[in-house]
């Protein structure tokens, strides 16, 4: 799993209302949500973002509400992965559950600017800033989360449980 793309850089405490304002939560259609992704932080973002781009943010990305619409909107906007110094806990869970790759790397965040190009190896956690020709390492993903990824997300893991006979039918 490798990603290569251009960086959109954001600050600390980007909340889920910033990622997808609640006024648009009367639907959960990812393509509708993508039209408003990050618009209260950067009104032109939905217009400017290109498939394959990468979001880089400071601390506590995704704080606030539990809305899964946030990772859904980011994915549908064409963003391939998010790198931050840290993530808020519900967003962290939601990202893994919905298959949005996320990486924690405080060093990378301090060594990348908007518009620069990154290459990320999702398996090894190696991040290269191609513009500056510098290499960084993402924090390791906990073993349980790796197992979820290996299963193809939480619901595939659930399907496995159904097959094991835990459906209470």
């Amino acid at each position: 799993m490798k990603f290569r793309g251009k960086v959109w850089k954001f600050g600390a405490n980007i909340d889920t209302d910033g990622i997808i304002p609640a006024r648009y939560l009367n639907t959960s259609d990812p393509n509708e949500l993508a039209k408003h992704c990050m618009e209260d932080v950067d009104p032109d973002f939905p217009e400017k973002v290109k498939p394959g781009d990468i979001i880089v943010a400071d601390r506590n990305f995704g704080c606030g509400s539990s809305r899964e619409h946030a990772p859904l909107a980011i994915k549908a906007a064409g963003i391939t992965c998010v790198i931050a110094k840290s993530f808020a806990r519900i967003f962290y869970r939601n990202a893994f559950n919905t298959g949005l790759p996320i990486f924690e790397s405080p060093e990378l965040v301090d060594n990348v600017a908007q518009g620069e190009e990154l290459e990320i190896d999702g398996t090894s956690g190696e991040i290269i800033n191609l513009t500056r020709n510098k290499r960084f390492k993402a924090n390791p993903i906990p073993p349980f989360m790796q197992e979820l990824i290996a299963c193809g997300g939480l619901m595939n893991y659930a399907q496995k449980k159904i097959k094991e006979g835990l459906t209470h039918e």
Partner: protein, 419 residues
């Protein structure tokens, strides 16, 4: 080494003698909750994974409360998905508009969450139920779907920060001020991934309504859960509502805390959180001159009967300032009826307030009180992020119900002592 109340509840639901912070466990869930924003995605995921029946129809609760009464065609469809699923699964705890209120006010009021429970909800303010001595945390829709199928959820056992509040609270200072002050001290990620355990002599005497307000906003410090040790106040609240048995847990004297914060709150004033973060707090005496356009009294944070009583004490015999909108939202139908019977609704109408049906509504910028560009609101809600109540260039200031009501009279942010 002993365990904290959070660790004990998680261990009991994971079928373990002991759990340690950092450990990942799979635990049995007592209540799984969803609303009209989050449940439609959960229901879709449930079906996609081949789910036929929920794990226990008495443990899945659906409350349409965010965009209700249906704001538009799209939100009507979201509510319809919940209703259809509730019929299909024969869920006893689906609450139709009219019985439904704001979920986190409704469930405690009906005795559906009890001490010792493990609750997950696809809503970040699910942490409210920690006030009852339960472990309760917000999750996403896919997590809810997983629990609806399996009856379980996975958790990383959190470290616990203990907060000790000492002294005696001044008049008009309540749970809202304690939690805003605390978030102001530790920041919006000060308790990220952690449990916040609220203790001390101030907490021992704190009424349940204030405890619910404090636990409710634990998420605003990034916490996984906020929790209170159940005591006689908890028992008095629960015993007149419970419909099943419950277990009281306590933290061991030798439990391990990652940090202990002590506050003497005797001199604490009402707090106001300036936009755009709940941690931007100032005491009311340091707010300065800030004219406003709207006041909202309601939400899962401060929409209970005690909050309306406080507002009524201030509004009685007074009028909302010219060109200011005061919107009051009783959080549940019971709260609404009680406010009516106590004469509070009369006081509100006399003061020129608008009374809204129970809904999350303006708190999340959904409907029923949206701000225009450049407008400013004082709200008893929980978040003041950019665009939270409307236009990205509008502003929300968070405060307790007394400050909110006083501000509506003054036309600017101010406290009851100025009236």
């Amino acid at each position: 080494m002993g365990m904290t109340i959070t660790e004990k509840i998680l261990a009991a639901h994971a079928g373990k003698e002991k759990v340690k912070p950092g450990e990942i466990i799979s635990a049995r869930v007592d209540i799984a909750l969803g609303n009209d924003v989050t449940a439609p995605i959960a229901i879709e995921e449930f079906r996609k994974a081949g789910g036929k029946k929920v794990f226990d129809r008495n443990k899945v609760i659906l409350v349409p409360d965010h965009f209700t009464p249906n704001k538009d065609i799209l939100s009507a469809r979201q509510c319809q998905i919940l209703r259809d699923f509730a019929k299909e699964q024969n869920l006893p705890y689906y609450f139709e508009q009219g019985e439904a209120g704001i979920e986190h006010a409704l469930l405690p009021e009906l005795g559906l969450v009890l001490p010792g429970d493990l609750v997950i909800g696809a809503d970040s303010h699910t942490c409210t139920y920690g006030a009852l001595g339960a472990f309760a945390t917000g999750v996403g829709s896919t997590d809810l779907a997983y629990t609806m199928i399996t009856g379980e959820s996975w958790f990383r056992v959190p470290e616990t920060i203990k907060f000790v509040y000492e002294g005696k609270l001044s008049p008009w200072v309540e749970g809202k001020d304690l939690i805003l002050f605390t978030i102001g001290d530790i920041g919006v990620e000060g308790a990220r991934y952690k449990a916040m355990e609220f203790t001390g002599e101030v907490i021992d005497n704190l009424p349940m309504s204030s405890r619910l307000t404090m636990a409710n906003m634990a998420i605003e410090a990034g916490a996984k859960n906020g929790i209170f040790i159940p005591d006689k106040i908890t028992k008095a609240y629960i015993d007149e509502r419970k419909k099943r048995e419950y277990t009281l847990y306590n933290s061991d004297p030798d439990a391990d805390y990652i940090e202990v914060k002590r506050y003497d709150v005797s001199a604490l004033e009402p707090q106001v959180a300036f936009p755009p973060l709940p941690s931007n707090v100032r005491p009311i005496s340091k707010v300065g001159y800030i004219p406003i356009d709207q006041v909202v009294i309601g939400s899962c944070t401060n929409g209970r009967i005690e909050d309306l009583r406080t507002a009524a004490r201030i509004l009685k015999g007074r009028k909302v300032a010219p060109y200011i909108r005061l919107i009051i939202i009783p959080a549940t139908p019971w709260t609404y009826r009680q406010a009516l019977e106590e004469g509070l609704i009369q006081i509100f109408l006399d003061s020129k307030a608008v009374i809204s049906p129970p809904t999350c509504g303006p708190c999340l910028g959904g409907h029923m009180g949206i701000l225009a560009k450049g407008e400013r609101a004082v709200a008893t809600t929980n978040r003041n992020f950019v665009g939270r109540m409307g236009d990205p260039e509008s502003e929300v200031y968070l405060a307790n119900p007394a400050v909110a009501a006083a501000s509506a009279i003054l036309g600017r942010i101010g406290g009851p002592h100025e009236l």
